[in-house]
Each structure stands twice: as C-alpha cells, then as structure tokens.
C-alpha cells in the first residue's frame, strides 16, 4: 500500500531544468506555498503560490487606482518667499525635455510612468479573461511582455528619490507633501504584492491551448 502511494507520488514528479545552471532534475508535485530550489546552485525554480485570480486582480486594481492618483495630483509643493511651485511626476519629465535632456526625460518617463502602467494593464488583459475562463488573443505575448517590463518598472527607486529630494531641499524652503506622494508611497507595496501574488508557472499552464 505504502509502495503504491510512493509510486503514485513519483509519477507526479516532472522533469525540469534550472534556469541558472542548466541542471536537469525532477521536481515533485508542489503543494500550495511550497518552493522548489535547484539542488546544485540553489536557484528558486518553482513556487506554488495557490492564490486565487481574484486576489491578484484585487491587488492590481488597487495599484491602478493608486497609480492614477499618484500621477494626477500634486507630488510636492515648495514655498519660498511667498512663491509657490508645484510639481508631479510628469512635470519632472517635461522640465528635463524643456532643458534639452530628452534622453533622461525618456528614461525617467519609461521607468517611472510607462512601465508600471503597462504592467498593470497587461495583467488585466491576461487575468480578467482567465477569471472568466476564456483567453484574449495574444494573451501569451502580453504576459511575456509583462515579465520583460518587470526590471524596468522602478517605482520604489523613484520613491527613494523623492525622499532624497525632500531632505536636500529641507534647508532651502518649506516643502509641502501632496496627495500624490501618499498615493505613490501606497502604490509600492501594492505593486510588489501584485507581483508576488502571481504564480507565473500556473498562468503559463492556464494559457496553454487545451484544445
């Protein structure tokens, strides 16, 4: 009897290769919350997260709302001798353009606005149809694009940049913090949680054509 169970368990293993060291090995069937590491180099090869699509979608929707609030409100307001200067994320990009540094303007625009926004939208495009048991055309390409975008979405680094700017200006003038800054600060854990809630192996398996 126990041998039968063992045999059954073994049949549920599948062959995989480590993306970091190319080792070929069998991973057992993982239960929710379990991780598989490469026995040779220790890379995290697979993780069964077992979160529902609703959970990821809720986090993604929250991120989208916070993203919109962070981009359409005042980030910082400076008062010096009766003069007020307001700024948000896009006005920084715009000012770099005006000064002729379009290379940095494009870079800052991509990593702080475009990549995070596209990431959230790509997730909706893939996850909402999956939730409704269907698939939109090019869902695989869109999900692959989402994964490519990940290193280029630098909201958390931008947040640290805001804090550095705040400290640097503290001596020079009175700085008021706008709604956008709070939204932006809240966006970071929500985006991180959205990414962490996704099980990419499971999504790729569900995107596989079954017919």
């Amino acid at each position: 009897m126990s041998q039968m169970i063992k045999a059954q368990a073994e049949s549920r293993t599948h062959l995989t290769a480590c993306h970091d060291c190319d080792l070929l090995f069998h991973i057992p069937h993982l239960k929710k919350g379990e991780q598989a590491h490469c026995p040779r180099c220790g890379a995290l090869v697979m993780e069964r997260k077992g979160n529902s699509l609703d959970y990821s979608l809720a986090l993604a929707l929250t991120s989208l709302i916070l993203f919109v609030m962070a981009n359409f409100n005042v980030l910082l307001r400076m008062n010096v001798g009766g003069r007020t200067q307001e700024e948000n994320i896009i006005s920084g990009v715009n000012e770099l353009f005006v000064q002729g540094y379009w290379e940095i303007a494009v870079l800052v625009f991509i990593v702080s606005i475009l990549a995070p926004l596209l990431k959230i939208l790509c997730l909706f495009y893939v996850l909402i149809p999956l939730r409704l048991n269907t698939r939109f055309p090019y869902a695989k390409e869109v999900f692959s694009f989402y994964e490519t975008l990940s290193p280029w979405s630098m909201t958390e680094v931008y947040m640290l940049g805001i804090l550095v700017a705040l400290v640097k200006l503290a001596d020079l003038a009175t700085i008021n913090v706008g709604i956008a800054l709070y939204s932006f600060a809240a966006l970071i854990p929500f985006m991180a949680a959205t990414d962490a809630s996704l099980d990419d192996h499971e999504i790729w398996e569900s995107l596989e054509p079954t017919d």
Partner: protein
C-alpha cells in the same frame, strides 16, 4: 570525487526562458520554437559572451563622462555651481547629512562600480573556463541583476529638483550632461546583466568530466 550531474544541454533538452517549459530538442532542426508560448529556444543565450563584453565595455567608457561632467547645476541668486556625482556626495557630508551621503554614495558610486567589476570578473572567469566556486559566482550574478536598478536614485532626484526649483532669479536647477552619461551606464549595465548567461559558469564543470 565530484558528483556527476546531468544538464539539459547534455541530454538534449531546451528550457524556455519565457514560460519555463522544458522541451526535447529535435535533431537537425535549425530553429526551434517553444510549443507552449512560441518563444525561440536556445540552449544558451545567443552570443552571450560577446554581447555582455560589448555592453560592459561601453558602460566603462560612459562611466568616465558620467563622473567628470556635472550631473546638475544649482544656480542661486545668479551664482551657478555645477555638481558632479562625487561633489554632490561631498557636499552632503559637509552639510552633516551622513545617512543621505551614504545612501547616494552607495547607489551612485558603489553599485555601478561593483556591477562593472563583477560583470568583468564573471566574463573573465567564463572565458578562462574557471571551475572555481560556481555557486558563489552564480550568487554574484544574481546580485548584479537585482541591485542595478537602485543606481537610478540620482537621476530621479534630478528629475524632481529641476521641476520643483524653478524660482527665476532666486534659484534654478538645471540637469547636466553627466546625468545623461550616468543614465546610460545604468541602462547599459542592466542590459549587460540580462545578456549574460549564468549557465556558462557551470559549463566549465561539465567539460571537466568529459
């Protein structure tokens, strides 16, 4: 006595780097696409070494103007003062803002230099087929892959300051050419880390047994 391991390349399997599906490589086929997601499959990232070398060397060259040219110029009451990355850190130290100085020093100086040195070391070690501590070298690679983005802090600070400090004759801040070069270093080293294939580190071990 080392333990002999099987690798995917050795056994004729290809791992899809997009959807993680393992496929059996058919012989005599020039280009294979992943049956699940359609991505072109490669046993190793194509031309990994030459691409990573090219990008790393470009980043080294760009690193010179990034440090010599001013990244921004603060003009207060008509007096302009250009700041390089290093002078910016020095000013923070002189102003007594130690934690901030350390943070900027780490993000703008330590991280890019360390990244370039690690990439160079990894490239050389693969080139000379070193079989020394492959696991630790793989960990070094993972560090370069994750930590690089934090160098962007200085660029973001400039983007925020130029838009906020526009007070006419009182004070203005303008970006500098050094920032363009520095942004280039960050982006190019990120591409360099992406084009490096850590499996090449382990291939040297493979050849030991044969």
């Amino acid at each position: 006595m080392k333990k002999l391991y099987n690798t995917a390349a050795h056994k004729g399997y290809l791992l899809c780097h997009t959807c993680h599906l393992l496929s059996k490589a058919a012989t005599h086929v020039h280009s294979i696409h992943c049956p699940r997601c359609g991505t072109r499959l490669h046993s190793r990232k194509p031309n990994s070494l030459s691409r990573t070398w090219a990008l790393t060397l470009t980043a080294y060259i760009l690193y010179i103007p990034a440090n010599l040219l001013p990244i921004m110029t603060v003009t207060m009451s008509g007096k302009g003062e250009p700041d390089t990355i290093f002078s910016g850190v020095k000013e923070l130290v002189l102003g007594g803002m130690w934690p901030l100085a350390l943070l900027i020093f780490f993000a703008s100086i330590t991280v890019p230099v360390l990244k370039l040195l690690i990439l160079t070391y990894l490239l050389l070690s693969v080139q000379f087929k070193s079989s020394w501590r492959p696991k630790e070298r793989t960990i070094l690679y993972r560090i370069t892959e994750t930590v690089g983005r934090w160098s962007m802090i200085d660029i973001f600070v400039i983007a925020i300051l130029v838009a906020l400090v526009k007070l006419g004759a009182l004070a203005t801040i303008e970006a500098g050419a050094g920032a363009v070069a520095f942004g280039g270093v960050v982006v190019i080293t990120m591409f360099a880390a992406m084009s490096f294939d850590p499996r090449l580190i382990w291939d040297a071990l493979e050849n030991d047994h044969e």
